[in-house]
């Protein structure tokens, strides 16, 4: 249990997706002007990142990776070795399609089934397809936990990394939106108005977040 808590803390605070890994910067700068929008975007990212982590893990483990549990190997693997069914070279293409489809499905599902949630997150969902945090977490999961022997542990860690990455994203984008609402009211040199000062603030935030190093793994 402690291992999972440590993993979660390290993903949210120490290896924060925005401030330490530089993933998801476009929405971070684009949607952090108001607190309300930041919360909406953050919620949508948590949702999609968790789903995408799990789905991409299933696809990788059971369709692409050359293991005993590869479905193609199980179906037509008589007299062959798992290495004959190594489709990992398709990872990039498959993942981006899976994520794009998933975002569309989530959008349609929410629109039909949970309209209030759709109203809150709706406009942010299409933006998420090209959010590199989602694709990034899928790829990182494969790199970090994809080849763990125990499928259960691997899946839990993957889901945790997706969820934690989303929570870290929401935390930072929310803090940033608070800072930027203040920035609107103070005098900033003309040249630095808008995005430049936002980047410099993000730099200071990253510096502060470096203080968390040593908390997690």
């Amino acid at each position: 249990m402690q291992e999972y808590i440590l993993l979660f803390i390290s993903i949210v605070l120490v290896n924060n997706f925005i401030l330490a890994k530089f993933l998801g910067l476009c929405p971070f700068i684009g949607v952090s002007k108001q607190r309300k929008a930041a919360i909406g975007m953050g919620g949508a990212v948590i949702f999609v990142m968790t789903m995408a982590s799990v789905v991409s893990w299933v696809v990788y483990r059971y369709l692409l990776a050359p293991t005993d549990s590869n479905l193609f190997y199980m179906m037509m693997g008589q007299g062959k070795v798992p290495a004959d069914f190594d489709f990992t070279f398709l990872t990039t293409v498959v993942f981006i399609l899976v994520i794009a489809t998933l975002v569309q499905l989530v959008e349609m599902f929410l629109m039909k089934v949970v309209p209030p949630l759709y109203d809150a997150l709706g406009i942010y969902l299409p933006l998420i397809t090209t959010n590199c945090a989602v694709m990034g977490v899928a790829l990182l999961n494969i790199k970090d936990f994809g080849m763990l022997q125990n499928a259960g542990v691997s899946l839990v860690k993957t889901a945790l990394q997706g969820f934690g990455g989303g929570v870290g994203f929401m935390l930072v984008i929310f803090l940033m939106s608070g800072i930027r609402e203040r920035l609107d009211q103070i005098e900033v040199p003309d040249a630095l108005k808008g995005a430049p000062i936002a980047f410099i603030c993000a730099g200071l935030m990253a510096l502060a977040f470096m203080g968390f190093a040593g908390l997690g793994q």
């Binding site: 530089f22 040249a191 995005a195 410099i200 730099g203 200071l204 990253a206």
Partner: protein, 205 residues
């Protein structure tokens, strides 16, 4: 024709002016080698995807054109990925997941949608080349600043022994870490705004 090429370099520089493709931009700008590798990879993908999409783009049904573009881009990214991991394992290691992440680089999808799908082949190639070079130049600029200040090196070679980890003055390691990247890009953008404002303020003689 030349205008398609030069607009990407400065006036519509994808990173510094349009603010697209920021993630790889900040993440790999730790050293010049990384910057050049990433620049080449992104430019190659841009030119190829622009070419293919300007030829076949009109046959894609308009409702699913974005997924079609993404598949085209992902194909070329896979090619780059395989080439780099086969011949440049060291670069592969230092760029890490940012090579497959070229797929979601907004510059490439943006050019496919905004330019290549509406123009002929030759202008699209030049557009891709210009945008790729603009991305590379900006990337090389920021990596140069970060590498010199952060590790006292250019292309992995120490400039002087005074300004190194063993010398009198130690380089500011924070520049090669995350905070340095954010501050440097903020200041570069600010500098660009300042120059633009000064140009506009000058009286026309």
């Amino acid at each position: 024709m030349l205008r398609e090429l030069t607009k990407g370099l400065f006036r519509e520089n994808p990173v510094l002016v349009l603010m697209l493709g920021l993630c790889p931009f900040l993440a790999v700008s730790v050293s010049l080698q990384n910057a050049v590798g990433m620049g080449f990879a992104a430019t190659f993908v841009l030119i190829c995807s622009n070419t293919i999409i300007s030829i076949f783009g009109r046959f894609f049904p308009s409702k699913i054109r974005i997924p079609c573009f993404i598949v085209v881009i992902a194909t070329f990214v896979s090619i780059v990925e395989m080439v780099i991991s086969a011949w440049l394992p060291e670069l592969n290691k230092s760029l890490g997941i940012f090579i497959p992440l070229i797929v979601v680089n907004c510059i490439i999808l943006g050019r496919a949608e905004a330019f290549a799908s509406r123009n002929k082949v030759i202008p699209s190639i030049f557009d891709g080349l210009g945008m790729g070079l603009g991305f590379s130049i900006a990337l090389i600029m920021i990596s140069f600043i970060r590498e010199v200040l952060g590790s006292g090196q250019i292309w992995g070679i120490t400039i002087t022994s005074y300004f190194s980890n063993e010398g009198l003055i130690k380089p500011a390691a924070v520049m090669v870490m995350a905070p340095g990247a954010f501050v440097v890009i903020g200041l570069i953008m600010g500098f660009q705004n300042w120059r633009k404002a000064r140009k506009l303020a000058q009286p026309i003689s």
